[in-house]
């Protein structure tokens, strides 16, 4: 219980918000709008899973938004050319993984700080895409809409896929040796090296992993609308980093888990519809989200100070 205190406190906060909504705005719980909300957040959840891994490994990747945009547009173009979904999906994941590999190579290979490397790739990818597409939208073939299923069928599939991925990864972080390597490297890379783990390789793979997940998430996003926006991923990096940090993953690495990241994402995602349902001005949304992030960071700071005092 004590071990998961941080995660449980986020769940409690989420519960309080939901309870408040149930009392003052029961309309929030109408099945169809709620499903739509969750579906919209499904791609974010997938990227957040990857971000949790990256941050646990004591790195950060702020280029995921740009990777997401690039994957979305490229996948859209392939689809428009008549590629079937079964090929577009792996192609997008592969493209994301290659973009992640560039980050990983620079961070692990040349030992550059990940914030600078991914800042550079973020800008490069975004502006490259702008130059290449000049802001043009890509029209998707109809058969891609909702994966070729009915709307609710597609929604359920996307949500189910995102949850399945979360559960598999969340369990893997605890039950597969590789997961523990990520924690070990994030806590103390030199100690990990002395124990025979290769911190560089772990870092490299983590960046590839988040890239592949981002490619996957891009597909989950473009099947939700008839057109691909050229910069659909703008701001995604901040959203997922915020979710992960609110969920108790320490920005200093080695701490936290995917369950917390999931709870953090839900908490932040609830803010906007909650405001709408409570008839509060939408301007409050960012301010409230910011306050939640601040609260989480302060809580972590207080906790680690307490611990270091012994």
């Amino acid at each position: 219980m004590k071990k998961y205190f941080r995660e449980l406190s986020v769940v409690a906060a989420l519960g309080a918000v939901l309870l408040g909504l149930a009392m003052f705005a029961p309309a929030f719980f109408q099945p169809q709008p709620l499903l739509s909300l969750v579906t919209r957040e499904a791609p974010t959840l997938v990227v957040a899973c990857g971000m949790a891994l990256v941050i646990i490994a004591r790195q950060i990747d702020i280029s995921v938004g740009s990777q997401f945009s690039v994957c979305s547009v490229c996948a859209g173009l392939l689809a428009a050319r008549g590629w079937p979904l079964v090929l577009v999906l792996p192609a997008s994941a592969l493209l994301g993984a290659s973009l992640g590999a560039i980050n990983g190579l620079l961070v692990a290979g040349l030992r550059l700080p990940s914030i600078v490397v991914t800042l550079a790739t973020m800008v490069t990818l975004r502006q490259g895409l702008n130059l290449f597409r000049q802001g043009e939208f890509v029209n998707m073939p109809d058969k891609f809409q909702w994966l070729g299923l009915s709307q609710s069928g597609g929604q359920w599939t996307l949500v189910g896929a995102a949850f399945a991925l979360l559960i598999v990864l969340g369990l893997a972080m605890r039950h597969v040796a590789a997961g523990r390597f990520v924690y070990a490297v994030g806590t103390d890379a030199e100690a990990a090296r002395l124990a025979g783990i290769r911190p560089g390789r772990v870092t490299f793979l983590v960046f590839i992993f988040i890239g592949a997940l981002t490619g996957l998430a891009a597909i989950m996003n473009i099947v939700q609308s008839p057109q691909v926006q050229p910069l659909s991923g703008a701001g995604l990096e901040l959203k997922v980093i915020a979710a992960v940090v609110v969920g108790g993953v320490a920005i200093s690495g080695g701490r936290g888990n995917l369950w917390g990241a999931f709870a953090g994402l839900l908490l932040l995602a609830c803010v906007s519809p909650a405001l709408t349902h409570l008839h509060i001005e939408a301007y409050w949304e960012k301010a409230i989200q910011g306050a939640i992030i601040l609260l989480a960071v302060v809580a972590d700071g207080v906790r680690s100070r307490k611990e270091s005092r012994g």
């Binding site: 040796a177 523990r180 103390d188 090296r193 124990a195 701490r255």
Partner: protein
């Protein structure tokens, strides 16, 4: 009556927690004198310097500077009183020029004052000229050699009007020629009335340079002598001078097959040269030497952290290339590192995770973690090594130093190694845990493990080892039998084997 000494320490005591690092040291330094300070690792030299430079406040005792008692010394007031310390690794800003570095040390004033670049440069050149250093004032410090950087430090000290200059092993990383340059500067300082406290492990330097020498041992001064009145053997006797009082578990094993055979192994990057020795199964091979002798560096070569570039390493008679830690582990080599707080135990992770960290492929086939297996392995080691802890799930950080060391040891024993390298295994652990670790090491040797024991604790390395390799300057200077006379070991470490052994 002679003038009052420049610096006088009276009954200086410094305790850290319960440990008394200085136990009432008397010391004095006159103007125009080079006073050498000598002592084993941990004899209290660094602590003494830290109290004089104001980095640490003494617990009791008096510091008298030029006849005036000073209390509440801080680094700032110490500098104002003319005390300067030149460390082994110069603390300069590598990206700034020599002029800027000197100016940063010497200038004071408002944050928004105007900087007079010309005056800065003139002063820097004057100071450099005073110590006869041919260094371009506009050069970036990064581009200077180590001795040149030390000269810049000395120039800073002079510029600050230092009357007392402390030099902490200034020649440790210098070549012979650079040493002579530095000696000339020291003599010049002496000539101009500066008092120099000179710390070095190299006896020949002390005889060449110093006027008087004080030997510290276990936080006490065991005598001050004029250099002319004492010889090397006498100094060594003063430094060691204590009996091996502690009782060490007797060796119960007879040495078996040669496990590790090191032939002319060197590594240029870490300064290890042509080291040759064997370690047999069931044997504890001690590695002694002073700080910077190259013992940890040798261990890192054997563990593949800085792979050897010359010579060969044989394991069980077969030539192996150890290019990485993974490689070393695969060959049955285990290394319990020196600084366990930093690299041995991951403090945030539970004890059980720490213990299985090096054996994932074996204990978790197919990469699936099996918590049952991990837990039972952890419990076994906790019982076996008597680790005092709340349980296998307690984080590493919750343990005492000695118990952390046991966890670190367990991680490597779990790999079932053939060769175990222990780097300062009892550093910073309490007496009880220390003798427990000694018993564990003995038992492991009895079970047929080949053990390399690196220790700066002279009685420990002598008491625990079947044979003792003594290192100095990156090479193995001597291999001595266990239970050797501490004087002989110290003499070998200081590089005066022939004379010292007499």
């Amino acid at each position: 009556m002679p003038p009052a000494p420049l610096l006088e320490l009276r009954r200086l005591v410094k305790s850290y927690g319960g440990v008394r690092a200085l136990r009432g040291v008397d010391f004095n330094l006159h103007a125009g004198e080079v006073h050498a300070l000598l002592g084993e690792n941990g004899a209290g030299k660094s602590t003494l310097i830290k109290t004089v430079t104001g980095a640490h406040a003494p617990s009791s005792g008096e510091i008298v500077i030029a006849g005036e008692s000073v209390s509440g010394l801080t680094p700032t007031t110490a500098r104002a009183l003319g005390i300067a310390c030149i460390y082994q690794q110069p603390a300069l800003f590598p990206d700034l020029t020599v002029v800027e570095n000197i100016a940063l040390r010497l200038e004071a004033g408002a944050t928004l004052r105007r900087l007079d670049w010309r005056a800065r440069k003139v002063r820097a050149m004057e100071l450099l000229a005073r110590i006869g250093a041919a260094i371009a004032p506009d050069a970036e410090v990064r581009s200077l050699s180590m001795p040149e950087q030390q000269l810049v430090e000395i120039a800073c000290a002079l510029g600050a009007g230092a009357r007392i200059v402390i030099m902490d092993e200034p020649t440790a990383s210098l070549t012979q020629k650079e040493q002579h340059l530095l000696f000339a500067v020291v003599r010049e300082l002496r000539g101009s009335g500066v008092g120099v406290i000179y710390i070095s492990h190299r006896l020949e330097e002390i005889f060449a340079l110093a006027d008087r020498v004080t030997v510290l041992r276990d936080g006490e001064s065991v005598g001050t002598h004029a250099v002319g009145d004492i010889n090397e053997a006498g100094l060594i006797k003063l430094m060691v001078g204590r009996e091996v009082a502690q009782i060490y578990p007797a060796s119960e094993s007879s040495a078996g097959e040669v496990v590790l055979s090191v032939r002319e192994v060197g590594c240029r990057a870490s300064g290890v040269h042509a080291v040759t020795f064997d370690v047999r199964a069931g044997e504890v091979f001690g590695l002694s030497g002073l700080v910077g002798a190259g013992r940890t560096e040798l261990a890192r070569v054997l563990f593949g952290l800085t792979p050897a570039d010359t010579g060969e390493i044989l394991l069980n008679g077969e030539r192996v290339a150890i290019s990485s830690p993974q490689n070393a582990v695969a060959h049955g080599i285990a290394y319990v590192p020196e600084d366990r707080r930093r690299h041995g135990v991951v403090l945030d992770l539970p004890i059980a995770h720490n213990m299985t960290m090096a054996i994932h492929p074996r204990i978790f086939p197919g990469a699936w973690l099996r918590f049952g297996a991990e837990r039972s392995l952890a419990l076994e080691f906790i019982r076996d090594l008597a680790v005092k802890c709340a349980g296998p799930d307690a984080p590493g950080g919750s343990l005492s130093g000695g118990n952390q060391q046991k966890v670190s040891l367990a991680r490597w024993l779990a790999t079932k190694p053939k060769l175990l390298i222990l780097d300062e295994p009892t550093q910073g652990v309490d007496v009880g845990a220390k003798s427990e670790i000694h018993r564990i090491v003995r038992r492991l040797a009895k079970d047929g493990l080949a053990v390399i024991l690196i220790s700066s604790d002279l009685p420990e390395v002598i008491g625990m080892s079947d044979r003792i390799g003594v290192m100095g300057g990156g090479s193995l200077r001597a291999i001595l039998p266990g239970k050797s006379d501490p004087h002989v070991v110290m003499a070998a470490a200081l590089g005066t084997a022939e004379k010292g052994a007499a």
